[in-house]
């Protein structure tokens, strides 16, 4: 079964053909700008994998194929909303105003990669967004807490949390949608259903045909969306957020997509996934269909494409340079954010790590 060919919420199909009229609020200029965002994050992704291969980055989870999901989320969330991401969410974070080098810093093994100020947030104040979440599905429960807090605060803001299809198997996920329904909180769940959880295919996670169907039992709205169609994603996220702002409760969006990469740079997907399946998935990927649509609409040319790629490469190179120029954290920083203040014992351990680091660095340079 080719799930990507199934009927679902969709505007532009994989051939670039409009199958549903574009929403009234969406202009062609906006679409061009989203296209540019998606291409930029793909160029970034390729570069990040290359950096890992040359030892300049640690294990890295590629977001290849998830660009439409991320850009739709990042561009639709308002600055006062709270984003609760999982590890494959670089495009959304970037579109939300978090610099590329922060992402590189995190995967480059530097804790400061999670200390982001959202440039889009008012007065550049510290972002309320949560850091990347590595333990699967735990972020869903945090999101329930965030959304409940927003409701108690009383503004018209919402929270949005993302997870993978594998995450929907965990109790955390099910408990979270259940609670979101019963508390009627302003929360949007987006499942990046990229068909694989490392080597385990979607059908081994659960017997339901659509993961969005889980919403029914929780008493929240559920919708299955073509996650490779940025318009469908924008429309679904916008509708869900508006429902949340109006106090109408939570939505579960299942974004059908495909992980075109290995799970992470430490994985080799050819061990468990057929080349045929991958090739088929490439025909549905999010960027080429939007490009084709824009070309058909007379809004994009190969010349534009060449210029865009050149620009993206420059932007990404500049971010990489900024990343590589970051001065390393002091070794004792491992203690500096542990407690508000350190006990005597921990002070001694902090001194010990300084001495040890000086010895090790001396041995390296001397």
């Amino acid at each position: 079964m080719n799930i990507q060919a199934m009927p679902m919420h969709r505007f532009i199909d994989h051939k670039g053909t409009l199958v549903t009229p574009l929403p009234a609020w969406l202009s062609h200029d906006m679409l061009v700008s989203y296209y540019r965002d998606m291409v930029l994050t793909r160029v970034y992704d390729n570069k990040a994998v290359a950096l890992q291969r040359t030892g300049k980055l640690g294990t890295y989870p590629s977001h290849l194929g998830a660009e439409a999901i991320g850009i739709a989320i990042g561009r639709t969330l308002k600055s006062d909303d709270v984003f609760i991401p999982y590890y494959r969410d670089m495009p959304a974070m970037w579109a939300r105003g978090i610099a590329m080098e922060k992402n590189l810093q995190y995967w480059g093994g530097d804790e400061r990669g999670s200390d982001f100020h959202s440039e889009s947030a008012p007065h550049n104040r510290p972002s309320r967004d949560l850091p990347f979440c590595v333990p699967i599905a735990t972020q869903c429960t945090h999101a329930v807490g965030v959304a409940a807090a927003l409701k108690i605060e009383g503004g018209h803001h919402a929270a949005l949390v993302t997870c993978g299809d594998g995450a929907t198997s965990k109790g955390d996920f099910l408990e979270s949608i259940n609670c979101a329904g019963s508390w009627n909180i302003p929360l949007v769940f987006v499942i990046n259903n990229n068909q694989w959880a490392i080597s385990v295919p979607r059908e081994i996670q659960c017997g339901a045909e659509f993961l969005a169907d889980k919403a029914k039992g929780a008493g929240i709205t559920g919708i299955t969306v073509d996650g490779n169609d940025v318009v469908a994603m924008l429309d679904a996220v916008k509708t869900a957020l508006e429902q949340a702002y109006r106090g109408k409760g939570a939505t579960l969006i299942e974004a059908i997509s495909y992980r075109l990469s290995d799970h992470t740079t430490a994985d080799d997907a050819s061990r468990y996934r057929s080349e045929d399946e991958l090739q088929q998935a490439w025909q549905y990927e999010p960027i080429s269909r939007l490009k084709q649509y824009l070309i058909n609409a007379g809004r994009w040319t190969e010349q534009d494409e060449t210029e865009l790629l050149e620009l993206c490469r420059k932007d990404v190179e500049a971010a990489v340079e900024r990343y590589l120029a970051i001065i390393p954290q002091a070794p004792e920083s491992a203690f500096d954010y542990l407690y508000e203040s350190l006990s005597d014992d921990l002070h001694q351990q902090r001194d010990a790590i300084i001495n040890k680091a000086m010895r090790m660095q001396g041995a390296k340079h001397g």
């Binding site: 093994g109 333990p135 699967i136 735990t138 109790g171 385990v200 468990y272 491992a334 351990q349 010990a352």
Partner: protein, 327 residues
């Protein structure tokens, strides 16, 4: 006999025990076609089929609970957690159920399960992939806690763990998964789960360690020997139960105790070994016992990880202080 890595020895033991006991079931995330994220279960599904090698949904609490259920019915499940940091979602099932089944039912039901998880740092892994929390399980009555540090011991201890009628937390030091190699004989011989292993004889100081730190401890002992200090190196291997007899016998010769572990110092297993020594063998000591351990902080991300990891030099310095400061 074949030379193999610690990881291959784990795989060999699983092959051996699945072939000889049809009750042995392997389950976990990615254990089937992918052979586990580290490839510890490679080839098992091809050989034993998908009823005995089960790819579970991504749900550790489920894996923990299902394993308890299977084991209560007399199967011998071997569950894999991808990293020790991801055992936490299953803690309720492990602590409230696996560890207590025998006690709760006054022996009517038991939990002959093995919970495997790679542990420890030093491989430049992302957040939550570097935990060393053996003390947590050692502190929970009902578990055996086992940590192999060589291919042959991994093979023999895993066989013993699977054959054990009590639940075993089996933690594999992933830093030396592929770096430590030795000959392993596929003879089906289990090793005892209540004895530690003396890897090197010495008269001056007793180094007690386990997991990947065994490597640095042996290196340190070699270097100390060049400096005229002979260290006895003991691989604890079985953390629960603790074999203090071997340690006391060594202390009778050396009179000096140094415990080396990667886990945080406070509340660590090193403290327990020293406390027992103080309670029962104080008079054997010529010097106050000492620990070389990880620090009481969160394992730094990989840029600064090296500063946290124990090194041969840390062990040598502590050993010399103990021997020379207390002549």
């Amino acid at each position: 006999m074949a030379e193999m890595t610690l990881l291959e020895a784990v795989n060999l033991a699983l092959h051996h025990e699945m072939a000889s006991d049809p009750k042995v079931i392997v389950l976990g995330e990615d254990v089937g076609d992918n052979g586990g994220v580290f490839r510890a279960t490679v080839g098992l599904k091809d050989k034993f089929g998908c009823k005995r090698v089960i790819d579970s949904p991504l749900a550790e609490a489920l894996i923990g609970g299902v394993t308890v259920g299977m084991a209560s019915q007399g199967l011998r499940p071997v569950a894999e957690f991808q990293f020790q940091g991801f055992v936490f979602p299953a803690l309720e099932h492990l602590m409230c159920h696996a560890a207590r089944m025998r006690n709760r039912t006054r022996g009517r039901l038991t939990c002959p399960a093995v919970f495997r998880a790679p542990f420890g740092g030093g491989i430049h892994a992302p957040e939550h992939h570097s935990e060393s929390v053996e003390a947590l399980f050692t502190h929970t009555p009902g578990f055996k806690v086992v940590i192999p540090s060589s291919p042959q011991r991994a093979y023999g201890l895993l066989l013993a763990a699977i054959r054990s009628n009590d639940p075993v937390m089996f933690f594999e030091p992933k830093r030396i998964y592929r770096t430590v190699k030795s000959n392993v004989e596929d003879n089906g011989n289990a090793l005892p789960l209540d004895t530690c292993f003396t890897l090197r004889k010495g008269r001056d100081i007793t180094l007690v360690t386990w997991g990947a730190c065994v490597v640095e401890s042996l290196q340190a002992a070699d270097e100390l020997s060049k400096q005229g200090i002979e260290a006895e190196v003991i691989d604890l291997a079985s953390i629960q139960p603790l074999d203090m007899r071997t340690i006391f016998a060594s202390l009778e010769k050396t009179g000096r105790l140094l415990v080396v572990h990667e886990a945080c110092k406070t509340g660590g297993v090193g403290g327990e070994i020293i406390a027992r020594t103080a309670e029962h063998a104080m008079c054997l000591l010529k010097a106050p016992p000492k620990r070389v351990t990880g620090m009481d902080t969160v394992m730094p991300y990989y840029r600064n990880e090296d500063y946290f990891m124990l090194q041969e030099a840390d062990i040598i310095a502590a050993a010399r202080e103990l021997v020379e400061g207390w002549k």
